[in-house]
Each structure stands twice: as structure tokens, then as C-alpha cells.
């Protein structure tokens, strides 16, 4: 036992150390591609009327006249001190804007979407595994395939039409109704902040605005979860552990619910780790569809406005969080899953 503890420490450390080069690779990739792009950020900021001398001055200030390698090293230094510069269009600090406003919004959306995805995916995946190859299994698998094939924005628009315009039950966009002030900033997630501040009506309003986007993204992702849960359940159901339980005469129902189910859920954490990338990608489209001001919305908006620093900042933060999540999940797995060797 003592041996295992020692090596888990080294595992954690080595995992974290491994994460750093990954971060550098992704961010460098973006940096170099951005320098290739047509369109000059200075013209974006000043518009076409500005005098040439003034543009040159600004270009110098932004460090765009330095040689490329120098810009690159400054950039790397910025990444690691999280000094992400100022937005080229609003002039506000990129890091502040993202961490305080946009990232929590995306976090909120992804959390609720994951809840929906799991709430739909787990029971259906389990059912499909248990009723393997019967009608239920085929139907559920088909459902999973079809729903994952839906373009997120299209599904979102159809839901907007049905529930927003025709039935008028849910709002079609935004995080809060106009006129409702956001709760005082604690985490940036409106639902949590409003609960913590006792603003119950704001909480309801935020939840109400989260309904359609979470359902859109969550349902579509449930397609993936159905498949993964089903496969895991199938593997577990055929595993030695479960065969042993059956051999001991335990009722099938208990075999499924107590033994197989719990073990099959262990990989759920791994699954969620793998799906982080999917969640973030899906969030971009969902946020654009619902004008939900999160990181995805920011990314698209910044690209359209050639706000270099914003785009860079967004990509860096995406990378950091994805790597962070995958490290955490690997570590959790190392603790939980006895099968993992390190």
C-alpha cells in the first residue's frame, strides 16, 4: 500500500509536467497561424479613416513591429503569467473579461447540458445494454445516432420555433430577461450567484433562460453517452466479476443494479473527461444560436472583428482548462480504478 501511494504522487507530478508541453504546442500553433492571417488588427481598431502615422504608432505599441521570434517569446511569457493583453476592440483586459464574464457562462451552460445528457444517456444506455439486440436496444441506438447527427444550431432553431415562438414557454435567447440585473458576482454562474445572494426570482429567470440551450446541447450529447454507457455496461455485464455474482445465484436484477451498474459508472468519469472537448465545441454553436454570452459566443464574435488578442486569449484558456480537466480526471481515475497501472 505504501508503495502505491508513493507512485501515485509521481504519477500526478509526471502528469502535470506532461501537460505543459501540450499547452505550449497548442498555443504556439495558434500564434503562428494568427500571424499568417490576412487583415490587420490596427485597421480593425482605428477604421479606415485614421491617418497612417497614427496607425504606425499603434502598431508599435501593440508590439506588432517586433521581429516574429521576439513576439513569440513575449507571447509565451504572457501565456504563463496569464497576462493576456487587452481586447483590440473594447480595450478591456482579456483575462478579466474571460474569467469574470464569459468563461463562467460557458461553464454554467456545460454543467446544465451535462446534467441533461447524463439524465437521458445513462438510463437509456443501461436499458440498451440490458435488452441487448432486442427491439429496445435497436431503437435506443438509432435514437442515439440520429440525435447526435442533428446539427446543434438547427436543433436549437427548431426548439426556438416550437417552444419560443409558437408556444411561448421559453425565451429564445440571452442569459436573463431584459431589465433583470445580474446577481452580484461571486462565481460568475448566474444560478449559483443568485441563490447565494438570496435573489430567488433572478435564479428562476436564469434557470428559465438555461432551459432551451441546455436541452439542445444536452440531448445531442446524450447520443454519445448512450453509446459509451451501453458499451461499458455490456463489457461489465460480461466480466468475470459479474459472472461470479450470477454464479452465486444472485438475481439478475440485483446483478445489474448493484454490481454491474456501479462498475459501469466508473468509466463515466473518464467519459466526461473525453467529452469535455465535445462539450466546449458544442457550446460554441449553442451559444451562438441562443446569443448566450459565453466563450463560444466570444470566440466567434472576436474572429469576426479580427480581435487577435481576444481570440488568442480564448484559445489559451480553452487549452488550459481542457488540459486541467484531463489531468484531474486522470488523477481521479488513478485513485478509483484499480485496473490502471502506473
Amino acid at each position: 500500500m505504501a508503495e502505491r501511494r508513493g507512485s501515485i504522487k509521481t504519477y500526478i507530478i509526471s502528469r502535470i509536467i506532461l501537460a505543459i508541453p501540450m499547452l505550449i504546442i497548442i498555443t504556439s500553433f495558434v500564434f503562428f497561424i494568427m500571424r499568417v492571417a490576412p487583415g490587420d488588427p490596427v485597421t480593425a481598431m482605428l477604421g479606415p479613416h485614421a491617418p497612417l502615422a497614427y496607425k504606425e504608432k499603434l502598431r508599435e505599441e501593440l508590439g506588432l513591429t517586433l521581429p516574429l521570434y521576439q513576439q513569440y517569446f513575449n507571447y509565451l511569457a504572457q501565456v504563463f503569467t496569464l497576462n493576456l493583453g487587452s481586447s483590440l476592440t473594447t480595450g478591456d483586459s482579456v483575462a478579466t473579461d474571460i474569467f469574470v464574464y464569459y468563461f463562467p457562462a460557458t461553464l454554467e451552460l456545460t454543467i446544465f447540458s451535462t446534467i441533461v445528457a447524463l439524465a437521458v444517456g445513462i438510463p437509456l444506455g443501461k436499458l440498451a445494454a440490458v435488452k441487448r439486440d432486442k427491439k429496445a436496444d435497436v431503437i435506443i441506438r438509432l435514437f442515439g445516432i440520429i440525435i447526435y447527427a442533428l446539427p446543434i444550431y438547427w436543433f436549437g432553431f427548431m426548439l426556438q420555433l416550437l417552444f419560443g415562438y409558437y408556444m411561448g414557454i421559453f425565451p429564445t435567447g440571452g442569459r436573463l430577461s431584459p431589465g433583470v440585473t445580474p446577481p452580484p458576482h461571486i462565481t460568475g454562474l448566474y444560478t449559483i450567484d443568485s441563490l447565494l445572494s438570496g435573489q430567488f426570482s433572478t435564479f428562476l429567470d436564469a434557470l428559465w433562460h438555461l432551459a432551451l440551450p441546455s436541452i439542445t446541447l444536452g440531448l445531442i450529447l446524450s447520443g454519445v453517452f448512450i453509446r459509451t454507457i451501453r458499451v461499458n455496461m455490456l463489457n461489465t455485464l460480461q466480466s468475470d466479476y459479474v459472472q461470479a455474482a450470477r454464479a452465486r445465484g444472485i438475481e439478475e436484477r440485483d446483478v445489474v443494479n448493484r454490481h454491474a451498474y456501479r462498475n459501469a459508472l466508473v468509466p463515466v468519469i473518464t467519459i466526461m473527461g473525453m467529452e469535455i472537448a465535445l462539450l466546449f465545441a458544442g457550446a460554441v454553436l449553442t451559444e451562438t444560436t441562443y446569443s448566450f454570452k459565453g466563450m463560444g459566443f466570444l470566440l466567434v464574435w472576436s474572429i469576426q472583428n479580427r480581435d487577435y488578442t481576444m481570440v488568442q486569449g480564448a484559445v489559451i484558456i480553452y487549452s488550459i482548462f481542457i488540459i486541467l480537466f484531463s489531468v484531474i480526471i486522470d488523477i481521479i481515475n488513478a485513485y478509483i480504478d484499480p485496473r490502471i497501472r502506473y
Binding site: I145, L285, V311
Partner: protein, 305 residues
């Protein structure tokens, strides 16, 4: 069960794909449903390819011009089966023509991913050591990053154009092929080291390639179909966001984006292109899933040989 040990590959595949038993065996062998899935998906795919190729003959109007005399924002009717937009363009013609870009772009991007991912994977697995570790790290970084976001950033920066979009999408999926081929290469390499004493004449590389090939032939088609399904969704998302495709080019993602501003007045504009995307992606997913079910036991069997 027949005597599977003696069945060779061709016979196995033939058995899987026979369509004689359609509905009767739905509840029996699970494997026959996989075959059905593949066939259904395959026929839908053929349907789309036919539409794309014969678009000039199927589409009643020129998609690049308003249908002559067409009213603005008219709902689906006999004359304009999917309705018209603000300037009187016929949506049906544009949707038919719109099948070309997704198919072209995904085919192109799969091609790029394959010709880069597979050789690099083979090389990396074969050569091992530090170079392999570096390559794996690079590929894993790209793989871990949300593909759509990477594609968005790349397309936005490379600019519009069919090839640029294909390249951006290809970059996202290269790690997929890399991984598979590299892993197979590595495991085969382990086995071969044990056998290396007995290998005579043939170089290690040739042996590895010979053993990799059958596994690759089995797994890659699955990857390709699932890759294609994803690539089509990605391409549609890119053009939905306004990246990559020039204006007026009929493209389903673009149609949805344009139509979204008129959701209340003209919901058909956003509705129909989406249905087509769903159909095509489902078809490719069915092929992929079905192939996966059929091929998996085969691989398992081979790996225990």
C-alpha cells in the same frame, strides 16, 4: 454457430452482409442488424451521391439566381417545394445543389487526414523512442483540443475556400488515424521482436507493414465513415458561422444560417437544409456503427491468434 475458425475473411464478410434475412432475424443474431444498418446507410449515401452528381438535372431552377417570377418568402408549394427566400431564390434547388460541398469537402479532408495520419503513424510506431514520444505528444494535444474550435480558428485565419476548409477539418482528424496505425504498429513490433530471431530475408519494416495491413484494412473503413459523418457536421458548422464558403454557394450550413434571421416569417428556410444534413450524417453513422459491430469481433479474434 458455424465452424468459424476455418472461415476465411471473404466468407465471413459475405455471411455478414447477406440480405436474405431482413426482418425475421432482427431479434436473433445481433450481427444481422448490423448488416442491415450498413445497407440502409449505404443506400442513403448512394442517394446523396446521386443527387450531388445529377444536381443540374434534378434541380428545377438555377441555384445562383432567383427563380424567375418567384415571390419573396413564399412557403413550400408545388412550384417551389421548399419555399423561397427574400429575393425569390428557390430553396429546393439550392438544397439539391448544396449536397455537393459537404460531400466534396469531407472526401477531400478524409483524403488529407489519411495520407498524413497513416504514414506518420506507421513511421512513429516503427521508429519508437524519443521521436515517437514527441509525435504522440503533438498528436495528443491536437486530439484533446475541441476539434470544432480548432477548425474555426484555422478556417478563419486561412480564409475562405474549399481547400482551406478541407485542410482545417483534416488537421482535426489526423490524430485519429495516426493513433490507430501507430498503436497497431507498436503492438506488432513487440511481437516481432520476439520473433526477430526467426525472420529471415524480409526486413523488419516489410514484416510490420504486412501485419499491420489487415488490421488497418479492417479498422480504417470504420474510422472513415465515422470521420465522414463528423466532417460533414463540422463543415456545416463552419459555413453556419460564415467561415470558409463564399456567398451564394449553395451549402446546407449556410442556408440554415441565412434562414435563421427569418425564423418567424419563413421557418422553412432553416428547416429543410437541416433535415438533409441529418439524413446524410445518420447514413454515414449507420455505416460506421454497423461496420464497427461486424469488424470488432474479427479484430478481437485476430488479436488472440
Amino acid at each position: 454457430m458455424k465452424n468459424e475458425e476455418n472461415e476465411n475473411l471473404m466468407e465471413y464478410l459475405k455471411r455478414k452482409f447477406m440480405v436474405n434475412w431482413l426482418f425475421g432475424s432482427l431479434s436473433r443474431e445481433g450481427k444481422s442488424t448490423s448488416a442491415i444498418l450498413v445497407w440502409v446507410g449505404f443506400f442513403i449515401l448512394i442517394f446523396f451521391i446521386v443527387i450531388a452528381v445529377f444536381a443540374p438535372y434534378i434541380a428545377p431552377y438555377n441555384p445562383l439566381k432567383p427563380a424567375p417570377g418567384a415571390p419573396s418568402f413564399s412557403p413550400p408549394s408545388l412550384k417551389y417545394p421548399m419555399g423561397t427566400d427574400l429575393l425569390g431564390y428557390d430553396l429546393y434547388s439550392r438544397v439539391i445543389w448544396g449536397s455537393r460541398i459537404p460531400l466534396e469537402v469531407s472526401a477531400l479532408s478524409i483524403f488529407f487526414s489519411l495520407i498524413i495520419g497513416m504514414p506518420v503513424g506507421l513511421f512513429s510506431g516503427f521508429i519508437g523512442g524519443k521521436i515517437d514520444r514527441v509525435l504522440v505528444m503533438i498528436m495528443d494535444s491536437i486530439y484533446a483540443f475541441p476539434g470544432l474550435i480548432l477548425a474555426i480558428v484555422m478556417t478563419a485565419l486561412l480564409g475562405p475556400g474549399l481547400i482551406n476548409v478541407a485542410v482545417s477539418i483534416a488537421v482535426v482528424y489526423i490524430p485519429l488515424y495516426f493513433r490507430t496505425v501507430r498503436n497497431h504498429t507498436m503492438s506488432v513490433k513487440q511481437e516481432l521482436y520476439v520473433e526477430s530471431g526467426r525472420a529471415m530475408g524480409a526486413s523488419r519494416f516489410q514484416l510490420i507493414a504486412r501485419f499491420i495491413a489487415p488490421n488497418v484494412i479492417l479498422t480504417v473503413p470504420v474510422l472513415i465513415s465515422l470521420n465522414a459523418a463528423d466532417a460533414i457536421l463540422t463543415e456545416a458548422s463552419l459555413s453556419f458561422l460564415g467561415l470558409g464558403i463564399p456567398p451564394l454557394t449553395p451549402d446546407w450550413g449556410r442556408e440554415i444560417s441565412d434562414g435563421s434571421y427569418y425564423l418567424q416569417q419563413a421557418p422553412w428556410l432553416a428547416f429543410f437544409p437541416g433535415i438533409f444534413i441529418v439524413l446524410l450524417v445518420v447514413a454515414l453513422s449507420l455505416i460506421g456503427e454497423g461496420l464497427n459491430d461486424i469488424v470488432n469481433p474479427l479484430i478481437k479474434r485476430r488479436e488472440t491468434l
